[in-house]
């Protein structure tokens, strides 16, 4: 068995996937910035921001697939980690506005001024520094995941019970962040950002950089996930998924494995959220909505649970269709199409797009092999 940091992505699927993403990270911004707008190869800015957004969702999907696809943890609250990462980034961007806010307060964000806050709450301290904010992007979601997971896995909360409490978690956070008193801008959230690290967020150059970073971020998340799942660690995760108590009886500390996977996954979701916010321009509590987390689960299912690439692909497909369907004459009927797609996927591609494709190839391979060799029955 080969294993290790590089061999994890040495298979053909990973190679193609990473190559496409790296190429996208380089070529798309280049074409946008260097080619004239009327060139056939020019990728317009709005398309790039759209793709950037999809890629963030794809990161979230990969993170979710890591815990759901390989470890059987159906998290219905992954949107919370995404949103927390987003808020951490949003707070940084908010602080960057400085005195350029409508009330021209050098310290306080606008919403605090107009709700009569006198000083910056303690939890906003430090977010004016990018490295700190970046750290928080990873630390806050993974800390929450760690504490939550530590409690839940130690108590052996599994299956739907775990799903429901993750949902309760994101729902509680939704309600909490809605409250203006929390100090995160209530339901309007954080918005009206100006720049990041001194670069104007609206400038094409910044957008392209963000896009490229997102594509590379997805590569990174994919890579990390692959390392996790192709090592024996991943086998243990699958063993846990199949027969949790059996895994304990051969000496594995199930809760530790789950905790590692869950925490890493939350950090990746947080990173996705952080990349999402500057590209979308707003972060608000609706990102905590349970429906969002369920949607993320659905991306994974559409693409193919337990395939990582499938999860990413699922996020891209579903969101691309959503974008397409919601414009024009069909706009009032797009839910029919999306709903139909979900049903069709489960019925005709039970393992999702990637799982289905794999099964197809395998079947072709084995029928060929079976045709050539003697009976399979021993």
């Amino acid at each position: 068995m080969t294993s290790g940091v590089f061999s994890a992505i040495s298979d053909r699927g990973s190679g193609v996937f990473i190559a496409i993403l790296v190429a996208a990270a380089l070529l798309i911004p280049a074409s946008n910035l260097l080619l004239p707008p009327d060139s056939a190869l020019h990728v317009p800015t709005h398309l790039v921001s759209l793709l950037g957004k999809y890629l963030c969702y794809a990161m979230l999907a990969v993170a979710l697939d890591l815990v759901w696809g390989y470890c059987g943890i159906l998290s219905l609250g992954h949107g919370a980690f995404f949103a927390l990462g987003g808020y951490a980034m949003g707070m940084y961007l908010m602080r960057q506005i400085g005195p350029r806010g409508v009330y021209a307060n050098p310290i306080l964000p606008d919403f605090m001024v107009f709700l009569n806050w006198k000083e910056l709450p303690w939890f906003w301290q430090g977010f004016d520094m990018f490295p700190f904010a970046l750290l928080m992007v990873l630390v806050v979601p993974s800390l929450l995941a760690f504490v939550f997971g530590w409690l839940a896995f130690r108590s052996r909360v599994t299956g739907v019970y775990l799903s429901i409490i993750t949902q309760a978690m994101t729902y509680a956070l939704l309600l909490a962040f809605f409250r203006n008193d929390m100090g995160f801008g209530g339901n309007n959230g954080l918005t009206d950002f100006k720049d990041i690290l001194g670069f104007n967020l609206q400038a094409d150059g910044t957008r392209m950089t963000l896009f490229a970073l997102t594509a590379l971020g997805l590569v990174l998340c994919y890579w990390i996930s692959r390392v996790l799942v192709t090592s024996t660690f991943g086998k243990v995760l699958i063993a846990i998924r199949d027969a949790e108590s059996r895994t304990r009886f051969i000496g594995y500390r199930v809760e530790h494995y789950k905790l590692v996977a869950f925490t890493v996954s939350a950090a990746m979701a947080g990173l996705a959220g952080a990349l999402y916010v500057p590209q979308v321009g707003i972060i608000n509590p609706s990102e905590f909505a349970p429906g969002n987390s369920i949607e993320a689960v659905i991306w994974v299912a559409v693409g193919g649970r337990g395939t990582l690439i499938g999860a990413a692909l699922g996020a891209l497909i579903v969101n691309f269709l959503k974008t397409t369907f919601t414009t024009g004459a069909l706009a009032p009927y797009w839910l029919f199409m999306l709903g139909g797609l979900f049903i069709a996927t489960t019925l005709f591609l039970p393992k999702g797009v990637v799982g289905g494709a794999r099964a197809f190839w395998e079947k072709r391979k084995t029928t060929k092999a079976a045709a050539e060799t003697a009976p399979a029955a021993e």
């Binding site: 839940a152 949902q167 729902y171 709903g339 139909g340 049903i343």
Partner: protein, 531 residues
């Protein structure tokens, strides 16, 4: 005209005296109504009410119902509930509706005065229903001019309940009347203390500040007494609210306890089944309104079976076309039923429109009864009763029928069940239809207290899952206990934490509770579960 004089007039009216003066006041009153000014209308009502004119009651009733009209040339006429028009002044029937008439408008201030006037006029009516209403109207308006009539009425009244209301009304008037004597006041305070409810408290608090010390003392004591009594009742009231909220949660969740709890389908379309039930109610009411208006009060009786059948049929179709391919792959049912839910929502939105639909409450479900210091709204009471009936019916069906046994056998081991001769297809379809049908029935009840809109289902789905899971998947009693305890916990927290924080606390509490009981309140036990 001073109040005293007006009071006198009422007495006169009762004695049938001073007819000439009365007709004058009536005339001026009517003229005022044509001015289309709230201030003038208010004055006019007093004038008309006290005029003693034979048409006075008719005119004021018409005004209250918005059936009194005036024209530009100051003709005032009444539209009778039967549809004919009569001249307000003479009472003569009109051949046709005068042209250019517009209704005399009301606002809340006018409505208050109208109410008082109607009370004064109706308090001596021979119809006990009218008398009761009038007595309540006087109690509300606390109009001192009604006092003489009130006294007369109290002397004559035979019906004990009405008498009580009349006496309370008199007490209320004495408490608020600026020039009442101390003796009257003290007696009144005593009477109100007896009554001891929120309204009595409000009346007592409205005591003028200028009263003498002993009266103020007595009032203070009475207020204190009522307050402590009400504080006690408040505990009961909170429990009642909790029970009521719990029964709503139970209703919403109970169908899911079948499709998810028993069958294991992560049924994201459950909420839409509830919605279908609610829309069935709406359609039934529309048909009844249009075709058989007399049956309106029975609309829910028709809606119940229809909602069960409609939602059940939709459930059946979903099961036959989608779910049946997914047994043994529970997680994928999430994806498929999510798709189903999107389609159903949008289908309803496309067909009925995106806005709320009005579903009315039948008479037996509207209103409020007071039991001690506890106010019970009838609508909620029925929902509680209904939730429990539905629960018991379902429990019985699952526990004590062979259908129930077959459902459980199929869901525990579908393959083996088939080998035992159980028609698994048939059972699956019926079970899903049953769960969906029950959800539809819940929709009928929920249409009484919530929006009937395409979003209805979405607002219950999360709560429903929480209830079922918190109770322990697959245990109906768990669903019951969990719904009620979530309802009551919510209502205990709400008063001091607020609705938002209360809900957050419930969610956090739930998360922590599951650490202690990782398989819900009533976990399924035994070797079979862990394997």
């Amino acid at each position: 005209m001073t109040r005293f004089l007006r009071a006198l007039l009422v007495v006169g009216l009762c004695l049938g005296a001073l007819p000439g003066l009365a007709q004058d006041a009536f005339e001026t009153g009517l003229q005022r109504l044509a001015q289309d000014s709230f201030g003038e209308t208010t004055t006019a009502i007093s004038e008309i009410a006290t005029s003693g004119a034979p048409n006075a009651a008719l005119v004021i009733e018409a005004l209250a119902d918005g059936r009194l009209f005036f024209t530009a040339d100051k003709q005032i006429y009444v539209k009778k509930p039967t549809g004919e028009f009569i001249d307000a002044r003479t009472g003569a029937a009109l051949a046709a509706e005068p042209t250019g008439g517009s209704a005399v408008r009301l606002n809340n201030r006018v409505r208050n005065v109208v109410q008082g006037a109607l009370g004064n006029l109706g308090i001596l009516s021979s119809d006990p229903v009218k008398r009761k209403e009038a007595a309540l109207a006087v109690l509300r308006s606390k109009d001192a001019t009604a006092l003489p009539a009130l006294e007369t009425a109290i002397k004559q009244e035979k019906d004990r309940a009405i008498l009580r209301t009349l006496e309370t009304a008199r007490a209320a008037i004495f408490v608020t009347k600026p020039d009442a004597s101390d003796a009257d006041r003290l007696a009144a305070i005593g009477a109100l203390r007896e009554v001891g409810n929120q309204d009595a408290l409000a009346t007592l608090r409205g005591l003028p500040t200028s009263v003498s010390a002993p009266v103020a003392e007595a009032a203070k004591a009475a207020i204190g007494g009522i307050e402590s009594r009400l504080a006690l009742w408040e505990v009961v009231q909170t429990a009642w609210y909790g029970l009521s909220l719990g029964s709503v949660l139970l209703l919403a969740a109970i169908g899911l306890a079948i499709t998810f709890g028993v069958m294991g389908v992560i049924n994201m379309a459950h909420g839409e089944m509830v919605m279908i039930g609610a829309y069935t109610t709406f359609v039934v009411q529309e048909v009844i309104r249009a075709r058989f208006p007399g049956l309106f009060d029975y609309s829910l009786v028709f809606a119940l079976p229809l909602a069960f059948l409609t939602a059940g049929l939709v459930g059946l179709i979903i099961e036959r076309t989608v779910i049946r391919f997914l047994y043994g792959r529970p997680l994928e049912t999430l994806l498929a039923t999510w798709g189903v839910s999107l389609i159903l929502q949008q289908a309803v939105r496309t067909y009925f429109g995106p806005t709320n639909q009005a579903v009315g409450a039948p008479a037996f479900m509207s209103g409020l009864i007071e039991v001690g210091g506890l106010s019970i709204t009838l609508g909620r009471l029925w929902i509680i009763v209904f939730a429990f009936l539905a629960f018991l019916a379902l429990l019985g069906a699952l526990r004590y029928t062979s259908f129930g046994l077959q459902i459980r056998a199929v869901t525990q081991n579908r393959r083996m069940a088939a080998n035992m001769g159980i028609r698994t297809n048939y059972i699956d379809a019926l079970t899903f239809a049953l769960g969906s049908g029950i959800a539809g029935v819940a929709g009928v009840a929920l249409s009484q207290i919530d929006n009937v809109s395409p979003n209805l289902g979405q607002s219950y789905i999360i709560d429903s899952f929480m209830v079922v899971v918190f109770g322990g998947v697959g245990n109906l009693w768990g669903t019951l206990v969990s719904a009620l305890s979530l309802g009551i916990a919510n209502k205990i927290l709400e008063p001091f934490a607020g609705a938002v924080l209360g809900k957050i606390l419930i969610l956090v509490g739930l998360i922590l509770f599951v650490q202690k009981k990782p398989r819900g309140l009533f976990p399924q036990k035994g070797r079979g579960v862990e394997a």
